[in-house]
Symmetry: D2
Subunit: 387 residues, 4 copies
């Protein structure tokens, strides 16, 4: 039973011992004290689930051996007790069946990215969300950063003028080493097309990069030209992809995503250039936003100041100079989704996506991006429309 | 009642509407999901307490009109239900009576810094902690940063050689504007000697700076020479203090603390130079540690890498490149204290302080520092021993 | 007459009042005190030449009305007095006739980049250099930086392993404003295909970028795919070009060059990733080189340290921490060329290019790059070989 | 004989093989092509002087065995041929006799810092400069940086408001190693009180730091409190000094100078805080100036932009983004002095100091600073007036 009735009740699939992103989701959910984890199936191994649940202080009866049991068991509980939404944090290939089953049982869903492993699955899931009318969130966590909101505000306000050039990078060094040969769980599923899907770094990094770009500029990528590479023996999924972009509004750009870029840890950055100004933001230094205006000194905006927009201020927890990081941005997505779930519980009809919570559409778009980048690369970089 | 029995139960005094640090403490306590806020007296205004408690989803019966009622009410609850420790997040002048009352009622205490407003209070509280045998933590949150632990590890391991020079800065611009004249709560109590105590920026910034320095180098400041300034009309407490330091081991250094340093937000930084190497760490960019060795390229260590020490790894939640910030470091202090409280609950006798939780001794030392810096400044910078 | 007989005697074509790069070349030539400017034709306007020469303290008799007169006049002087090489710093379209005429008269040539405005001219000039046996240098000044040499040394020594990924950027904001409409000389010729040649930013920035890349990695770009843009009304030459690259050794990469990237001043940077390590260097912060090795802390190498290679040390004038900049790197190219000219004067046969002086081959390659990038862009980004 | 009659003719004392700063002065003098080195006595070893002169292409007859011979020999040459000023770049203890002898022979003098080794010498030299009416420059080269001029302009224009706080650092690691035991010439004289004078790092670094501070803020340090340290066995001069400062206008500050600060190369930096704004400048990154205004985003000003003041623009050679460095700033001091010498040659009476050339008064003040810092340190940090 839950003491704090104000909180939204969450279940989780995935995130057992040996996983990475599950613990991140749990902290993100806990941070703002508006969500309570009440149930879970943390692993395909029931013993792992049991240990994980115990370590988290969960009621053993709500640690289920498989996701079907989770959904059935929770659905059988009284409405004021059962979980209200499920967080899906498993390898990519199981997102579809789990999310679909949750929706079928009437649970709202927050799903890790990339949404699913094929365009067909993406569209099927989109249809199911529409049909059930349930809430669905894709955890593009980087959009939760306050200074990303600030950049988006500047761009929407016209401060940069028409967008001419974008540069998006998402560079990691993680897969420069064949960790999968040592049994590393994170590496194993990421290099396995059966679990990761069509894309390697395109799925892991590229889907984030595309979302951040389109979220920021409020404009879609019209078409892309991609060149992908695999260097490590035994791997088949892309480790490194370079792309040229053309925006719907006429601007152009580059994107590069890599998991073999030695020296980069989790280096997602974006630069947007308009006719009059530009912005630069970097995930590893997320509390700052560089804003340049032609002919003026470079400005560095810092989270938490009075000059920041309401969009940024609304997701700011602590004063300027007190750095918020990855978990806080992640928590912003959770909080926005929890607010929507609570509104629904109260009988309202919240929007199915919002500035702080990316919806099913953004999830579908990420899968489309992966599929089209692969298609372009297979056609020697032919320009390929993102439709 | 609390659902998750694994969690340590916390109460809070202070942190109502209009306060800053209380919400920080609540996030810090929630982040690692090992602590549950169950009771509180959030303001001297019972209505504020009621609203704050409701917003937090607390049981109204456990939102008390004053701290005496809080301690009495909780003490009257069954042991498995009542709060186990209280977090004291009020202005400095009330730390002593509240903490003393909590100890008298048998509650462990986590107290914000500076510990109290006079050396006499500090020593009385230290005595009471010893007599009661209860656990006491002072929230010097900056020591919770992973890369501070890494620096401390390097220094302890001898990587720098004997310490020759230290430079500590804690610079803010906050009080460059007379916010107290506009009724800003944060400013009002900070510039009021009746609430803040002897020190202005010495209390707010200086006590952190001293703790960080001594924690890092594992060596005490032997004596100091201070020059303090007040620029804004109507203020009496120090706004800006420059200090020369002499360490017990023979090294020397500077410290500067200010709340009128325009352009600095919360800029706590430390540099330590030994015979062979040096380190630099900066709170606003906390995931990195610069380590220099004479005659070699500068190295930038990044939190979360395999090369980091066990001390740093033990307080690292997420991988390298995914920035942790202010709240995470704060949560590390809370978690360490919660672990000790849970051990005590289980009948063990945990240490009364530790690398991750600063004890009453560190709190006393902070007050001593403030008192001696004021004394030196009043004696035109006479060298004054920190004893 | 020249007092200091040790110095190599230089003439100059271009660089009169209103020009930019001519003064840069003169400082670069003077800095190391091994070259003396003795003659010139600084403008098509003889009066400008006269004034410029007078301001420089030149003998009025050696300030010539046109380049033909310069070459004829100097050729007629005694061997120990006449200029030994000519520096050509005019708009691109006149490089070919001037350089060819100088070679025909027996003068060595240092020519600004891009070498000439068409592949046909480039190959004709290359042939003439071979036939005359004279020395020819193209002022790819960025290769003169000490830390570029250090990076090249690291790569040649195998420290990075096989090259997998390169990222080259050369971003300026200069042409975000239609300066040519205000009669700005720098802008006027740069946006005029008649003077600038095939490429706009490809010529100004791209030729530097390609040279820096190939110089650093010691490997050629095999093919490229380009997408170019023109945004400002009335312009026809590329303002912004994004490229995908494939290296002969199997690595891949991106290049982006722009003169409408608001917020960038002269932002040439390069990143090279190998199997084991990577380097990053940025022209606006040229005294440092970032070197990463997988699994180790990031290292920042600083010019002038004992750990630097002989290649870097050989072009280092002042100790570490005393920044050398753009002019010093430029002077390194001049000095290397002057040394070769002095060796030739002394009867030796110096190499026709070297690590510190880029020869005609590098000049041809730059023109080839411009031509092929334009060709690819005109073919909607078709992969185009750089041959 | 000199070909270029426009140039000012310079002689040099010091700067032979094994020296450092002499070559720097020669580049600084050559860079702007307005000065010609025509004579010298580069070492107390005539053979060293002969070799150095030959390497520089000087007339052997003007390479003199001692400074007395230099002054006598040059004085005997025709006025249009003989050197016009002498650059004194010897160890500190010989500055006085050489400069005095030069003045006595009627030569203008540019002298390296610190001016001389005692206050008595400083005042005697000041008197001689006044009596002879000759021009005298002290090469405080850091004041030659464009962005230092920009900062000075901002402060003079009142952009910062009344100055409240200054922080000056000049940190090097050079003497962390006992180079003097290996015969290193630079180290040998610097640690020898007989050659270096009263101060060690106070002379090398401190005199620059004081000049930069007073130059920037246009206000004098009223009094100081100093604590000095010597760590390396066998040394007697200060290696590291920490100081508290009080300004005439009521502001306060810190200064720290060190040559044993491992990890710092030539790290001179200054921060100035006023009531409304602040600036930060750092010599190792000299093309930028950080300017903060309370409540606004941090601005980074970059040399060479149209928004820069005339003071900065006047010493800017190349466009923004093309870094100028240490030598360029040094050359600015030389150029300003050469302009004054040329004006005097032409019969004018130029000012005896100026924004771009520090005069004898600044030299005296540097020596006063060293003497008073030593005095304060010997009196256990007693506040000591700078008069």
């Amino acid at each position: 039973m839950q003491a704090n009735k104000k909180r939204v009740r969450m279940g989780m699939v995935g995130g057992g011992e040996g996983a990475f992103i599950g613990a991140v989701h749990r902290i993100a959910a806990a941070l703002d004290q508006e969500i309570e984890l009440v149930a879970g199936c943390f692993s395909r191994d029931p013993e792992n689930t049991r240990r994980t649940g115990a370590a988290l202080g969960l009621d053993a009866a709500r640690c289920y051996p498989d996701y079907q049991a989770l959904f059935a068991g929770e659905a059988a509980l009284p409405a004021e007790e059962r979980m209200e939404f499920v967080s899906v944090v498993t390898p990519n290939n199981s997102h579809y069946p789990i999310a679909a089953a949750a929706l079928d049982r009437g649970f709202h869903v927050l799903c890790d990215k990339p949404l699913v492993v094929s365009l067909a699955e993406a569209r099927a899931l989109e249809k199911k969300v529409e049909e059930t009318g349930l809430l669905f969130c894709v955890s593009y966590n980087y959009s939760g950063n306050a200074m990303v909101k600030e950049a988006r505000h500047l761009i929407r306000s016209g401060a940069l003028g028409p967008i001419r050039k974008v540069m998006v990078e998402y560079l990691q060094e993680f897969l420069s080493y064949p960790y999968e040969k040592e049994g590393n769980k994170q590496a194993l599923w990421r290099v396995d097309p059966g679990q990761a899907g069509l894309g390697g770094t395109l799925g892991d990094c590229g889907s984030h990069a595309l979302h951040l770009l389109e979220y920021l500029i409020g404009e879609e990528v019209a078409e892309l030209s991609a060149d992908k590479a695999v260097y490590m023996p035994g791997r088949v999924l892309d480790e490194d992809v370079n792309l040229l972009l053309r925006l719907k509004g006429g601007g152009k750009g580059t994107m590069t995503v890599s998991q073999i870029a030695v020296g980069h840890e989790n280096d997602l950055s974006i630069r947007v250039y308009g006719a009059h100004g530009s912005i630069q933001w970097r995930q590893e230094d997320p509390n700052y936003l560089v804003h340049c205006e032609f002919g003026k000194p470079k400005k560095t905006l810092s989270r938490g100041n009075a000059y920041c927009s309401a969009d940024a201020a609304g997701v700011t927890r602590i004063p300027t100079g007190h750095p918020e990081g990855y978990l806080e941005a992640f928590a912003t997505v959770y909080r926005a989704f929890a607010v929507a779930v609570a509104q629904r519980r109260a009988g309202a009809l919240p929007a199915t996506e919002g500035p702080d919570y990316p919806g099913i559409g953004a999830g579908v778009r990420g899968v489309l991006f992966i599929a089209k980048a692969i298609e372009s690369a297979q056609n020697n970089g032919a320009w390929t429309a993102l439709v």
